[in-house]
Symmetry: C2
Subunit: 171 residues, 2 copies
């Protein structure tokens, strides 16, 4: 996931036109505005499909950390495909975005902009040093990669044992 | 280079604080605003150092192409480091940004936001299908890779000639 966090005086959006991957939305979801918000522009990536739940948790942790630092009580979850050239499937993206919205909802005034729509938007970035931050979030290595590393370690052990044996044989 | 083009009702910025790589700027450069502008957020990348002039030309071509499509007469050149995790040196970045500003200046009302400053900014994106576009620009492969491609083409010709010969022999 690519995450761009902007501490905003305001953020507002209005849907203009659906794309072929547009989320079905209620009328009330077609526009939104938050004042004094942390805007979280995010692109869910193909890497994230290996463990979407972990990515949700780590994204939420990052957003919360920055929200505390800048003292933001509102969060706008805003899908932003242009942050990555290696996107996840739309299905995973929507699921991740909804989960992030849900996880933050207890503690913050949260709004989510709909996925897959052309949207007009306006934003004002405050400009202080913490008002623009970007993060790359990747799931920790999947089982396959993890095992690969373990295999490598085992090979090292084997070599080490072989060298010990050779050394013993020579002595 | 990573390029994010936003067709904007307005874009405005105001410098807030210098960073260690801040460009030295005149008072008049500390804030700016354009109406009905194509905003070009850009991150100059390490790849671009291989041929900055080529990257300038290709970025200018992309910006002009979109400016014509959306009928924008103003362009804001806006450094945006958060679009990449593999940035060029600040020196190359400033040089590329200034060159892009200069190349566009004959044909458009151009403004450039200063490099290396924390800035407050406000933008309104129009939301039509061409109002948000992203591009990755890389210098074309160096001589080595270019030659490799040519070799590949020659191989195709050789195969094609061989097939023709075979076909002739059979008939
Ligand atoms: Mg305004």
């Amino acid at each position: 996931m690519q995450l761009l966090l902007i501490h905003s005086d305001y953020i507002e959006y209005e849907v203009k036109k659906s794309t072929p991957v547009a989320e079905k939305i209620e009328e009330s979801f077609k526009q939104g505005r938050l004042e004094e918000a942390l805007t979280a522009f995010m692109a869910v990536e193909s890497f994230d499909e290996a463990d979407p739940q972990q990515v949700v948790e780590r994204a939420v942790a990052e957003i919360e950390k920055v929200a505390v630092q800048v003292k933001a009580e509102s969060v706008m979850v805003y899908p932003y495909a242009h942050l990555s050239s290696d996107l996840s499937s739309p299905k995973v993206a929507v699921s991740v975005l909804k989960s992030i919205e849900k996880e933050l909802s207890g503690k913050y005034n949260v709004m989510r902009a709909p996925f897959g729509w052309y949207k007009a938007f306006s934003i004002s970035c405050k400009g202080h040093p913490l008002s623009e931050l970007s993060r790359t979030i990747r799931p920790e290595e999947s089982a396959t990669c993890g095992e690969a590393v373990v295999v490598e370690e085992k090979k090292d052990e084997v070599v080490s044992e072989a060298l010990k044996a050779e050394s013993t044989a020579k002595s």
